[in-house]
Symmetry: C2
Subunit: 372 residues, 2 copies
């Protein structure tokens, strides 16, 4: 993948829980000035996995050497299936074995799984230490590193155990996207696309116009996609840190998506793939309820396809779908709630009759008969 260089930019995020900057640019990870004005501490711990550490661990450690007397690293097993207490406990074991005090700064170097677990470890180690997000996937840069949601999975549900905890800074180095497999870049584009239907249809136009450049790894196009996605997310989160209302719209596609992920076993589908497909289902449910025209569903389906993402859900029995969606955190008193589009560019949280939900699922999934 050819990567040119993008001009640096900053998105400021203000929430009741704290304010911080998102830095977006090329080569930020190697640049010591990316860490200027962060909390001082003698110890720093980089949390990563073996793949990402091999690519960027040394660069980050070198770049942090002038700020912290001791920089150590802890590597976690890779993938959503390992977003568990056991992995989290590896961080705690490391911190305690190194006698890390409550000023120690944690650096999350990796994708959403690393970010979520490092953030939750930072939120709970000695009841809270500072942490910095250094997201190395497009998905993490546009979504999971913004908004202060941290969590681990429980066998009965994704992200069920966690905390709202804001990073001290987010450093999005576009250079790290050059090493990203095409499948993961596509998965990240799902969360970029998401911001169109729920908030900004002009951004959806821009994404359609730049999909080829984005998939080719054009740095300037990626920089704009990351910036605009972070701006929208920051605006939404700034109004509603604790997800009492507006923030829930960021979960467009996620009720169906989480059911796909959990139903297939974490890791079988990438989160972004499940969300891409989930957005098609959520748009189709919006159309089923008469909230958007069918043409909108077709347009979104084409764009999800153009991003290299699946638009057809896997085969699962009706009861399994309903059971998996009922444990979603947005559910209330057992009623499944969906983020629906009404009209394009605006979204809200609603319930829908089971029979209409199942009809939409059937129309957009692999027939049960052909399931493996």
């Amino acid at each position: 993948m050819v990567m040119n260089s993008a001009r640096p930019r900053t998105v400021a995020v203000a929430t009741p829980g704290g304010r911080y900057d998102i830095l977006i640019g090329s080569g930020l990870l190697q640049d010591a000035s990316s860490w200027a004005d962060l909390p001082a501490s003698s110890q720093a711990v980089i949390v990563s996995n073996a793949t990402v550490d091999a690519l960027y661990g040394d660069d980050l450690a070198a770049s942090l050497a002038s700020r912290h007397r001791q920089v150590s690293r802890v590597l976690l097993p890779e993938g959503e299936a390992h977003k568990t207490w056991d992995s989290l406990n590896r961080i705690f074991d490391h911190l305690l074995a190194h006698a890390c005090d409550r000023k120690t700064v944690l650096y999350a170097l990796g994708g959403g799984v690393i970010g979520d677990m490092t953030g939750f470890a930072a939120a709970t180690y000695m009841r809270g230490v500072p942490f910095v997000q250094v997201p190395t996937t497009l998905l993490a840069q546009v979504d999971s590193s913004v908004g202060g949601k941290t969590a681990i999975n429980h066998p009965l549900g994704k992200n069920m155990i966690g905390a709202f905890y804001q990073p001290a800074r987010v450093v999005c180095d576009l250079g790290t996207l050059a090493s990203l497999p095409a499948r993961e870049l596509s998965a990240g584009l799902a969360e970029v696309i998401k911001y169109g239907p729920i908030f900004d249809m002009a951004f959806l136009d821009w994404i359609e116009d730049h999909m080829v450049a984005l998939r080719a790894g054009d740095a300037e196009a990626l920089a704009h996609a990351v910036q605009r996605s972070c701006e929208i997310k920051a605006e939404v989160v700034g109004q509603d840190e604790r997800e009492s209302g507006l923030r829930a719209i960021l979960n467009f596609g996620h009720t169906f998506g989480h059911a796909i992920e959990a139903g297939q076993g974490y890791g079988a589908w990438l989160h972004g793939e499940a969300v891409g497909c989930g957005m098609v289902l959520a748009a189709a449910l919006s159309a089923e309820l008469g909230l958007v025209p069918g043409a909108f569903v077709e347009r979104l389906t084409r764009l999800v396809q153009a991003a290299g993402l699946p638009t057809q859900a896997p085969a699962m029995p009706d009861e399994r779908w309903l059971e998996l969606m009922r444990v979603d955190k947005k559910a209330e008193a057992g009623a499944i709630r969906f983020v629906l589009i009404d009209p394009p560019g605006r979204a809200s949280l609603r319930s829908a009759p089971d029979d209409q939900v199942l009809r939409v699922i059937r129309r957009h999934s692999v027939p049960v008969a052909s399931a493996a």
Copy 2:
């Protein structure tokens, strides 16, 4: 233990993280009005252990029946040794198995271990649900249920994993203290005594005058002890929720105390027993450094003894003491820090030379030669 009845009283607590009331009185647990104006939810979950549940579980469930459609219970294994991830996970398993949503209210019915774990579960289940403290030990009523500290232990350190999370209310029913073993009542008195040296010498006078009544279970004396302790703690916590400065004084006796608890294995000494003994050591260290007169150490030692608490630390090698105290959360960059008295009625966080610390420990502990 004979218990008369005490007039009800309320202590209001305001912190940046939220405001809530502490209700103190006799028979509050059976009184539905104790729960008035709490967050509404269809589901409530009582977290307790088998001993406490057998005594008060039915009363609490009955008293909550008018507020919540479904009241279920989850029982955890008893004791500090079980303040672990495994116990915490029992709560999560229960919540998910019962499809509890993010409005579910958790009620912590028990002592500090139940309160700490229920609070941490509430802080992290779906990133935060409301919870109510119903402390049934004196220690929990005067200390652990106030201030929003929640945590579990890690094999390498006590309360290392946790969160600051405020309850929606604290209901201190003095009637529950009637069933408390004398040893646990004494342990609770350690934390009552604590508030004297660090904040209010007039309260220390009062405790000396009422020690017999307190140990005899006099409800009016206990009510005053709980009220004044909560008032002092609320004042301190209100000024410093996150323990950046003033709040640390509440840990008077805890640096030594935690080392005793961890060194002897959690559960061998009750927390209050370790704190009682730890206060004697911390006062002696204050005297060793010339901050208080020797007579103050003798006075505190007599009061700790009168409360039925140990004043002599267990035998441990010097290196073990230092190692255990270095993992204390107050330590910074490897330097152990103690809450020292200077003068009586005021406290601050300081370091001390290892040789003076060890001299004080030797003077106030069982000789190593006679260790089992």
